[in-house]
Amino acid sequence: MSFEAPIKAIGEKDLVAPKSTFKSITEAVSRVTENPAPMGWWIAFLTAFSFTGVLLGSIGYLFWNGVGVWGNNSPVGWAWDITNFVWWVGIGHAGTLISAVLFLFRQKWRTSINRFAEAMTIFAVICALIFPGIHVGRVWHAYYLAPIPNQMGIWPNFKSPLLWDVFAVSTYFTVSSLFWFVGLIPDLATLRDRAKNSLRRMVYGFLALGWRGSNRHWQNYERSYLILAALSTPLVLSVHSVVSFDFATSVEPGWHTTIFPPYFVAGAVFSGFAMVMTLLLIARSVFKLTDLVTITHVELMNKIMLATGSLVGYAYAMEFFVAWYSGNEYERYVFINRATGPYAWAYWIMITCNVISPQLFWSKRLRTNIPLSFVVSIFINIGMWFERFVIIVTSLHRDFIPSSWGYFHPTLVDITTYLGSLGLFFTLFLLFLRWVPMIAIAELKSILPEADPHHGEHHDEAHEGDSHGEPALATTAEGH
């Protein structure tokens, strides 16, 4: 099964609607950035932008008054801040999985959705990076996160998973951004060459770096893309593993488990695919891209959600089993308390959304149903937020002695900060939809049957069924 083989030969269905041509793909994708934005875009953008303002206001208020404006208090020292951080980082993972892992596995169907998913990764990681930065309390000491000695000459502790996390997430952000930009260069050149006014020509021209589609460039370009995919694959697996080390290396019951790295990675992919699905179904109907993002894409993504959702469900069960099997009474208590204690509501929301709802996708009829896919993707987004909340808050809220027991109540600022981060995410995303080709134009063209240099030859053979033997020579009259 070579990557060069035509789609039909490897038994895949058409990945874009039949009759799509190079020109129609350029048109369909570019026109979104060229035509005036639909009214719906403006409504969504102004709403999201207002919430970005709410985020900035909440952060300003936090900086002015200190972390006391949040509900975090002993014994629950980490709450929504870290829940939001882990949730956002996790969402980012689907983008890298689609762009890198599926690329290495030669899954050509990813082509329609990878640009989109990579953009989502970058914006989700931006939202994630805010939270560790603002939760440190004395923000003027935020530079302690970086490997810089402080005023007493003491360096950060390189044995701490919190420092590993800084390296993992910032590397992830940088590499994802580079990967995204490299993928964009040929498409920015397409927009440059279509530009009707000089401002567009200058801005897209500047960003396209003078790309001229040269095959001597494509060779290095494709190698660069392949290497970036090969680098991103272990990177994405490492990022959520390192995030899970923040918990797993502590001696806190409920956190101190070896299952965390794979469990976090599976959950990250699960939540990320759900977010891609949510966004894609909206963009597909608003911008009328049903020819390029077909029901096959929806179905395949639902299958991945079914697989990762089942992995997550297995991890929940295994955690419970190991807690019992360990014989450690604190560990056992934490898990029984999760399912039956004061946070049982959160636990059962998590189980319903993450374990039960994706099981609907065993049915082909349900996983090709667009409204249902949308609803389930929202359920999974909610469920995965609750997963992180359950892991963090239920493990902390009852410390070893009952005098250190408490119950976490979010404050208004907790809520506005979280909603504000959603606002920032959607603001960036809507700007992306409007100004950047949201589907990889060059890549999508390369999977059309016409992109195969021997296309004409097969074509002739198929039509003149009796002329087998010598393959017909392709002629330039092929340009229909």
Partner: protein, 190 residues
């Protein structure tokens, strides 16, 4: 199919490129193979997407990018080891959790991330270096038809600087590969 020949650009410039436009990737690739067989070295194809088999048709060797990435990756790994050893082992040793100041297992995550980070820099900026990008000014952009190279047309360009280039015979050779259109592009710099 008739081949029209047009010349663009200012008359006093010297000719830089012969540019031929094709309708399909297959036709473009056959033309490239013909130029390769005729011994040309300074020619290129311009396509909206990478065409598989074109590297062989143009007689190109393999990309050298992997070596750049390897060197950068090793640099990243060494940087990680040096940074941690110096910071926590030499400059200000701190004992945490009873572990030695220089504790190799704890190096793994940071060294891994720095290896990936610098390799990625190598893959991206190395690619820019090998391709000599950004380059916003190139004679080929003088052609209006060339705008379709990022849309749905396929181009072959031959440099006048190629030792095999002959002002009469080369256009004939290119015309024999059935392009839609041929034009001569003149260098407006100088």
């Amino acid at each position: 199919m008739s081949v029209e020949t047009t010349t663009v650009s200012v008359p006093e410039g010297r000719p830089a490129l012969l540019l031929a436009e094709y309708e399909t990737p297959g036709a473009c690739m056959k033309a490239a193979a013909k130029l390769r067989d005729a011994g040309f070295t300074k020619f290129d194809t311009h396509t909206p997407f990478p065409v598989h088999g074109m590297d062989a048709a143009m007689g190109m060797g393999d990309s050298k990018l992997g070596w750049i990435v390897l060197v950068m990756g090793i640099t990243g790994l060494m940087t990680g080891i040096a940074l941690i050893t110096y910071a926590n082992g030499i400059d200000y040793p701190i004992i945490v959790g009873g572990k030695p100041a220089i504790s190799i297992p704890a190096y793994v995550p940071v060294c891994f991330e720095l290896t990936i980070l610098l390799s990625a820099f190598g893959a991206v900026f190395g690619m820019f270096g090998l391709n000599q990008l950004p380059r916003h000014h190139h004679p080929i952009f003088e052609s209006d038809r060339f705008k379709a190279a990022t849309d749905d047309k396929f181009f072959v360009s031959v440099e006048y600087a190629d030792p095999k280039f002959d002002a009469d015979r080369t256009p004939e050779l290119v015309a024999s590969t059935h392009p839609n259109h041929i034009e001569i592009i003149e260098d407006t710099e100088s």
